[in-house]
């Protein structure tokens, strides 16, 4: 089961079982739900930019597999404290790596997030890993440049 352990690394299972920044977002209307049409997973995301122009909080809510939950959890930690512009750049790099357009070495300086690079070996799970990131990019698109 070695190959499987490459996907379900300890960090991923930890973030799955104890997701960070997961909160009850039932006050957000269902029309703002981000969905993975291939599996029915859904996620809501709330991203708040503070008076200092930096992202003050990132919260998510929803139902997902280990990969999508861990990815949302890891992402939330990563984006807090970044400006929207910095966050957009990070998201674009991440999505490129997961699409196989950029080497996963690009994630080397990302700390725990690096483990998600392993998902590229499981093409059918890429959508799980990128759901939260697509949601964040959409949220950020409505922020001013």
């Amino acid at each position: 089961m070695n190959e499987l352990d490459n996907l379900y690394m300890e960090i991923i299972l930890d973030h799955y079982k104890f997701p960070r920044n997961k909160a009850d977002l039932s006050h957000i209307a269902d029309e703002y739900l981000h969905e993975n049409p291939s599996c029915g997973d859904s996620l809501k995301l709330e991203l708040v930019v503070g008076g200092d122009g930096k992202i003050g909080s990132v919260c998510f809510d929803g139902h997902g597999c280990a990969i999508s939950t861990a990815s949302a959890s890891l992402m939330s930690e990563r984006l807090i404290g970044k400006t929207p512009e910095e966050a957009r750049r990070l998201i674009d790099v991440f999505l490129k790596v997961l699409r196989g357009e950029e080497n996963s070495d690009s994630l080397e300086e990302w700390g725990d997030l690096m483990v998600l690079g392993g998902v590229t070996q499981f093409p059918l799970r890429v959508k799980c890993a990128t759901l939260a990131w697509h949601a964040a990019r959409k949220s950020l698109a409505s922020c001013t440049e």
Binding site: M1, L7, S38, C39, G40, D41, C65, A66, R125, C128
Partner: protein
Amino acid sequence: MISGVFSVDSKAELGEEIREEFPLLANNSELAYLDNAATSQKPESVLSAMNRYYREENANVHRSLYKLAEISTLALENSRAVVRQYLNAASSQEIIFTKSSTEGLNLCAWSLGELLLSPGDIVLVSALEHHSNFVPWQQAANRADAKLVAIPVNEDATLNIDFLETLEKDGRAEKIRILAVAHISNAFGTIHPIRAISAWCRKHDITMVLDAAQSLPHFPIDVQATGADFLVFSGHKTYGPMGAGVLWGHEKWLEKMPPWQTGGEMISTVRLEKSTWNELPYKFEAGTPNVAAVVGLAAALNWMIATGLSRLETRELKLGEHAYEKLVSVKGLKLYGPVDLNQRRGVFSFNLEGIHSHDVAQYLDKAQIAIRSGHHCAQPAMRHLGIQSTARASLAVYNTIHEVDRLVDAIVGAREYF
């Protein structure tokens, strides 16, 4: 079951050697392929029939006069005859080849919708439908300014048939023009009470469309005994190739219905301002058909007949019984669908407490067990039952008791892993 014309045979019980007739499985001895509700594997006889068609019989059909075109046309029409006989349809004109069940249902929704639906009418579906028997009707209703109503689902993934009475009482039954329902639910394996539904349709003069994509692979169907007006099925779930499906419809309807797709083959005469349509079934078969796939589909039905339809069914029932008993005994596993085995077939949809179906499926893949996970293209049903996704194991005749046992062992392994 609705028994067909070939249901009697007395040969000995089918054994595991049947698996060897499927090259993909014979070449992957460790693979437990349990995603048969998505597509089945194909026996050697189907593969060789398709291969032979392209090597020896390929030419375009119907239009040319040379010998090879005649042979190719014969291959297509002989396949139609095989399907007609298998379904016990009244005539070959009622057998329309499509590329899939989805295409057959879209044809019905567009053409029958145009013929029958007016503003204020109702199309009745069930909340357990595959998206392919839900979305086309939703769109047809929208186009006609009609309404889509869904028969609700009970907790055990059976249809709440009492709802039909409600429709009678509140007067909505009189507005229903079309009822579209699956024979067996692809997500939960529930067998719906088709004959009771078709009798109800007769009573209210409702045209009934039956989606047999999940039932025809498991038992023969006599279309005339179903009481339905239309039936679709997919070749690729019935041991045949992808790219060929069947729409059967009552001639009286097909004659009245406008064509759906237009172009070559389906016309009689074409003038600048108007055209007239070819006779049945060609009116509904625009363009060059996928003859090789149709030949494969007929070869698959012939393979089932030659193997013995009752032997196939007996073996599957045994596998299903074993799977059910084993799965319900797994701690922390919630099995969806009817408790009564007579009300379900082929499909076992489940969740492991606290573990997402994707992760279960990924774990099983490493043990070379192929199952499906997700919403199974049945989001309305999932929403009705308050579940996001399930893991789904679905059986075919080549599966073995050992494979079912491996599935259960691996599920226990997944429970411990996560």
